[in-house]
């Protein structure tokens, strides 16, 4: 067995790595967020008085809950479907078709959606030909539509990946248990309620937290979908920090906005953790 000193020695590279590549940059970020203004807190005052930033936080929270709740539901459903037909050619086709979007870049995904929903896109052509509208609908000018589109596109993109994780969790259910339940409760809904969901509950909770955190940090999709009209309804703090820091060159403002959002994320995570504790 190693002594404590030896263990500490072995852990040193990892500690140093973390210190210089995570703690040090974080400390410089904190210091930067307090500098460059008239007072120590002027960057924070500026950010917190900016209605666009406040709205971006609300948008992010909507993405957090929307993407995680809708995403978990859809991917668990797909996983159960794959498990039910496990080994068949249909299952493999389903797995491939749901996983493929995960490999696509956001530019491609938005391109597909834009081809459908832009004014000269398929949806408008269909509606005009059916006589429902005369002038094309500007879907991307609608904040609500754009926000829902971001949630659906994200869920669609990650569906196969998330479903695969749940599918693997389902594969660990003992065959004997399935056979026993099949004798007593042979309907699918009974199996889902009494076997599948309880068995993958801990996986669901872990995935919920991971997807929730990822959704709070939404950047690519919000940046690509954003335009002058829908911007305030789709922008997230990550986009806000990018635009303040990189586009406008106000790094101290960007750092302050990142710090505020970091704290909000931690609070939200604690609340969500508390809320899900009873299901463990």
């Amino acid at each position: 067995m190693f002594s404590n000193k030896k263990l500490l020695f072995l852990a040193t590279p990892a500690v140093l790595y973390t210190a210089f590549y995570f703690i040090y940059p974080t400390i410089t970020l904190v210091i930067s967020s307090f500098t460059g203004g008239d007072t120590l807190i002027s960057n924070y005052q500026y950010v917190l008085s900016d209605p666009y930033y406040i709205q971006s936080i609300l948008n992010s929270v909507v993405y957090g809950f929307g993407i995680s709740l809708f995403g978990i539901t859809a991917s668990v459903a797909v996983a159960i479907l794959m498990y039910s037909i496990s080994g068949s050619r249909v299952q493999k086709t389903l797995q491939l078709s749901t996983y493929t979007p995960y490999l696509l870049s956001w530019v491609v995904i938005f391109g597909i959606w834009n081809a459908i929903f832009q004014p000269s896109g398929l949806m408008n052509i269909l509606l005009i030909n059916l006589g429902v509208i005369d002038i094309p609908i500007q879907f991307w000018a609608s904040g609500i539509f754009s926000k829902i589109a971001i949630i659906i596109m994200t869920v669609w993109k990650d569906l196969g990946y998330n479903a695969l994780i749940f599918y693997i969790a389902l594969l660990s259910i003992p065959t004997s248990l399935i056979e026993a339940v099949s004798l007593e409760k042979d309907t699918v809904s009974n199996k889902v309620k009494s076997v599948y969901i309880p068995h993958i509950r801990s996986t669901i909770l872990v995935m919920f937290m991971l997807i929730f955190v990822g959704a709070l940090k939404t950047f690519d999709s919000a940046y690509i979908v954003s335009n002058s009209i829908n911007k305030e309804f789709v922008q997230t703090p990550a986009v806000y920090a990018y635009e303040s820091g990189v586009i406008e060159g106000n790094t101290h403002i960007a750092d302050a906005s990142s710090m505020i959002f970091l704290v909000i994320c931690l609070i939200l995570l604690v609340l969500v953790r508390k809320g899900t504790e009873k299901y463990e």
């Binding site: 500490l8 500690v15 210190a19 703690i23 040090y24 400390i27 410089t28 210091i31 834009n114 832009q118 004014p119 000269s120 002038i135 094309p136 500007q138 991307w140 000018a141 335009n227 002058s228 009209i229 911007k231 990018y242 635009e243 820091g245 990189v246 586009i247 406008e248 060159g249 106000n250 790094t251």
Partner: protein
Amino acid sequence: MKKLLSLLSLALVILAGCSSTSGAKDTGGCEEDGAVQILSNLHVKSSDEASAWSDYVSEELGFDVELTYIEDEYDTYVKSAYSSDLCYDLIYTAQPFMMGDEYALPLDSYINDSEILSDETIIPSKAYDNLKQFSSQESIYGIPNKNEGNLVLTYRQDWLEEFGMEEPTDLAGWRQYMEKANEEYDAYGFISTELYDIQPFMSTQGVQFGLVKDEQGKWTVPYESDDAVVVYDWLGQLYDDGLYEPNMLTNGSDDMRNMMMADGVATIGYWDTWVGLMNDKMAESNPDFKVIGAKTMVDEAGNGYTRAGNPGAFLVNKNTQKIDQDIKVLEFLHSPAGDLLTTAGIPGVDYNLEGDDVVFTSEGIEHGADHGVPRSLNKNYVHPYSEFSLQGAEESAEKVEDYSFIATQSVDGVDYWTDIEQIIYKYGIKSIIDPELTGQDAVEGMRSEIDPILDELNQ
């Protein structure tokens, strides 16, 4: 263990707080030895070509030069390079906020001492003035890169001639031309990316893009003035009548160019260099295709405004340790050999010399004689080749030259325009696509959000 971690944390805090104020000179990662490091997203088309570019320039100058080419997210990369002490001695940028002490070295004295950089025929003083105005700095923080050109209303000259019409000089005339193009070719009249391209129409009302000082010396935004209402209403009417291509919220500039070259639209607001590039590109497939830029339109008082391109420049890193070599590189780029390099490309890669003749390789043809400088600042420079003549570009530029201006977007190093522009687009586009909203509603909406920004700016 706790003590150890506490000490480590304390050391990191001190390190973080004092990293830029310690006794040793902070050179931001720049070194005295080694190659002159250059960063650009413009002067080559790939990392492989960057390597060939570096070899060629090193051989010409007699010292090592290394060009790094970043294709995507260039501005993010530049910022990251500074924050991580990754030193580039020369950095190409078109960002006004970078043209100041925080990032760059003031170059006034170096320009005065250089025969090439101070030569009016090679780099016109107007190019330096534009740079100073753009960056809102008293000093010059970069060496202008190219003839930036102007945003001109580009139309199909072949169609106009076919319709038997003269070049329109007012909104009514343009509408007539667009209607005719729609009838004859089923083409849209106008296409834009958001409202980036409407300055030629705004000029008919004497309205200027960007921040403009009024007679009292206060900053104003003419795009939110009553004079602009006519243009928003006129564009809204084009949209309602199906003459305004409707995808302005998602269009990119390539969509505009492609649609024009595919006979899909009659007019675009775009850079005059592209007049030449489009004519060159279409010369073989459609010899009848000919686009040209329109003259600047003026209001009743004779005021007209054509927007000049934001000046891009090579900055010298404030931390550079090789200033003499940096200046030599910049002088080389503005020499005849540099002009050939930044247009035709690298000898042996983009072209080969057969006697005095430049013979383009397939790669050179693909690159279209644009390696960062489609049109040189040096008006005396003549390309030693006949291809890529940019037919119509010079003529288009001359038609608007007298009314050309650099838009003011930042004041005292602070970028006010990014936010203001978004507000203009938001209300302007809403008024165009929503029949219930008028141009007057648009400017009132703009004022509700822009005026507080102007109040802060004018304090």
